[in-house]
């Protein structure tokens, strides 16, 4: 009765499909575990690793460069400003010494 399996398969088509696809185990596994992890890994790779970890030194460099430029802008060459900054420093140190 070589036609019996075919008939059986036809009669119980959904069950046959279910069994043929190994209970859809691979799809289920892919859906529950593989995909979310892939999404998470991708987010960590692009956002965390390339964005934050690799970006941190770059941000530090940018911050360093910008603050360096700002620091030099204090140096205007104006004698009045120089003297004023000295007196300002004196006041700050006095405050720290008397209150600190």
């Amino acid at each position: 009765m070589p036609t019996l399996p075919a008939r059986l398969a036809q009669a119980l088509w959904p069950v046959y499909r279910f069994l043929l696809n190994k209970w859809y185990f691979d799809e289920l596994y892919d859906f529950i575990f593989v995909r979310p992890y892939a999404v998470l890994a991708r987010a960590l790779w692009k956002g965390g690793e390339e964005g934050v970890v690799e970006g941190m030194p770059l941000d530090a460099v940018r911050a360093t460069r910008e603050s360096a430029v700002q620091a030099v802008r204090l140096q205007t060459g104006s004698l009045a400003l120089y003297a004023f900054s000295m007196l300002g420093g004196l006041v700050v140190l006095l405050t720290v010494a008397l209150c600190g």
């Binding site: 030099v72 000295m86 420093g89 008397l98």
Partner: protein
């Protein structure tokens, strides 16, 4: 110790140097115009060398009615000051102005007098001696800065330094008068007793100490009293800049250590926080502000601001180890700083001085010897082992760590990393950038300075033991 005895022999080096200065000046003035520079340079150099010998053999003790002291600490500082001045005189010999002339013959003599002031500062046992030494040293430097009268930058440097220096001197004097008003004496020994006898330091004394501290901070170019430094360093003739970055800084440090660890040592918790603050500010500002610089003399100005911050870390620790570390740091700084300025003075193209960092491009190919020396100094300034700068930095960090100054150590380490960028950039420019037109062949005196200091930087580890014990004795003389 006979405080009131008139023990003239302890000031023998100072007396000899003063006499030598006067004799050289008188002798050279009689020379025909334009021919005095070389004899003045040679004689001043010889006088400085002879004075170094005198410092080593001169007896120790108190004298001049308690205004003057010669101890292990003074001796250490005087040797540093004299060595710095000698290097500057040698650099000055090879220097030519924009008009291809030598500096005026007064230059070496003025360096000599300024050194005399610096030595008196190192030996002061009285706030008045301190001030007299400081002014003798500073007045000579004001003139030295403006020595190239035809160069507007040089005149500007002299004027700026003079005006701001007067302000700083005024603050210092005001502080001294406040301290005198509180303690009734200006002698350090008297001040120590007065400070120790009071349970709580009175407000007037604290204000006085802060004013004195500010006056000294100005000389050391500590932030926020540093503003004059870049402009003056850039404008002054290179040998003068080399001198300013060395001897007067050591003298100011000598004062700082002597005054703060001595008379005001009992109220250390009061000023420690101030020293910490200016030290942190100087390290950070020195590191950051140097990054965009294109002129190497200006870069060295910021570098010196940073280095003074590191050296002050030792004092902020307020311990014996800290004092010793500061002294070793200064010795290492003397060597690498002198060497760097030897290289900067050698930067001439077609007979004209060039100061841009870009002018060093390709030096590794056109002049491998000088490039190697400059690279050694830069690595030493970064603090790379086993060069001189490493030991200084290591000791001050260790002292600050042991004293529990963890924030200071952390900021110092971070500033050190930022600072490494601009030092290493010079190495990169020398070795990896395309060569420009080659620099002129440097004068033999400059080769001697940069070569000798390069060797000293590399071999510092060999003499570390003696320097450490010398510094230890100096620290004991100061505190014990």
């Amino acid at each position: 110790m006979g405080v009131s005895s008139f023990n003239w022999a302890i000031a023998l080096p100072e007396i000899a140097l003063a006499l030598a200065g006067v004799v050289i000046l008188a002798g050279v003035v009689l020379q025909p115009k334009g021919e005095g520079f070389l004899p003045a340079t040679v004689l001043s150099g010889a006088a400085l060398l002879g004075c170094m010998v005198l410092v080593l053999v001169c007896p120790q003790g108190h004298g001049y009615a308690g205004t003057f002291v010669n101890d292990g600490f003074a001796r250490f500082m005087k040797i540093l000051v004299l060595a710095g001045a000698l290097v500057a005189v040698v650099l000055g010999a090879g220097y030519r102005t924009r008009e291809q002339r030598t500096l005026p013959f007064e230059a070496p003599v003025l360096i000599l007098f300024s050194t005399l002031g610096a030595m008196i500062m190192a030996s002061s046992a009285n706030l008045m001696t301190l001030f007299v030494g400081l002014e003798l040293s500073s007045l000579s430097i004001y003139i030295l800065c403006a020595l190239e009268r035809d160069n507007v930058l040089s005149s500007e440097a002299g004027l700026k330094y003079f005006i701001l220096g007067s302000l700083a001197s005024g603050l210092l004097l005001y502080g001294i008068s406040l301290v005198y008003g509180f303690a009734g004496t200006m002698e350090y020994t008297g001040l120590i007793e007065a400070v120790r006898s009071a349970a709580i330091p009175p407000m007037g004394l604290v204000v006085g100490i802060v004013f004195v501290l500010v006056g000294l901070c100005f000389k050391l170019s500590m932030v926020p009293f540093h503003m004059w430094t870049p402009d003056v360093y850039q404008g002054a003739p290179t040998p003068v800049t080399a001198y300013m970055a060395g001897a007067p800084k050591f003298a100011a440090f000598a004062l700082f250590l002597r005054v703060m660890a001595g008379p005001f040592g009992a109220v250390a918790p009061r000023w420690q926080i101030l020293i910490e603050t200016v030290s942190i500010l100087s390290m950070v500002y020195g590191a950051f502000a140097a990054i965009p610089q294109t002129n190497i003399k200006r870069l060295m100005a910021y570098s010196s601001i940073g280095h003074m911050g590191y050296a002050l870390m030792g004092l902020a620790a307020a311990s014996m180890a800290g004092l010793q570390a500061t002294l070793v740091y200064l010795s290492a700084y003397l060597i690498m700083n002198a060497g760097t300025f030897g290289c900067i003075a050698a930067m001439r193209r077609n007979g004209r001085e060039v100061n841009g960092i870009a002018d060093l491009a390709g030096l590794g190919k056109t002049d491998p010897g000088m490039a190697l020396a400059l690279a050694i100094f830069m690595f030493s300034m970064v603090g790379a082992p086993p060069l001189a700068g490493f030991f200084g930095k290591f000791l001050v960090f260790a002292a600050a760590w042991q004293a529990g100054q963890y924030p200071l150590v952390a900021v110092g380490a971070a500033a050190s990393i930022v600072g490494a960028y601009y030092y290493l950039r010079i190495v990169k420019v020398m070795y990896f950038d395309a060569p420009d037109q080659a620099l002129d062949r440097p004068a033999p005196g400059l080769l001697l300075v940069s070569g000798g200091m390069g060797l000293a930087t590399v071999l510092f580890i060999a003499v570390l033991g003696p320097i450490l014990s010398f510094a230890h004795q100096a620290a004991i003389a100061l505190v014990g």
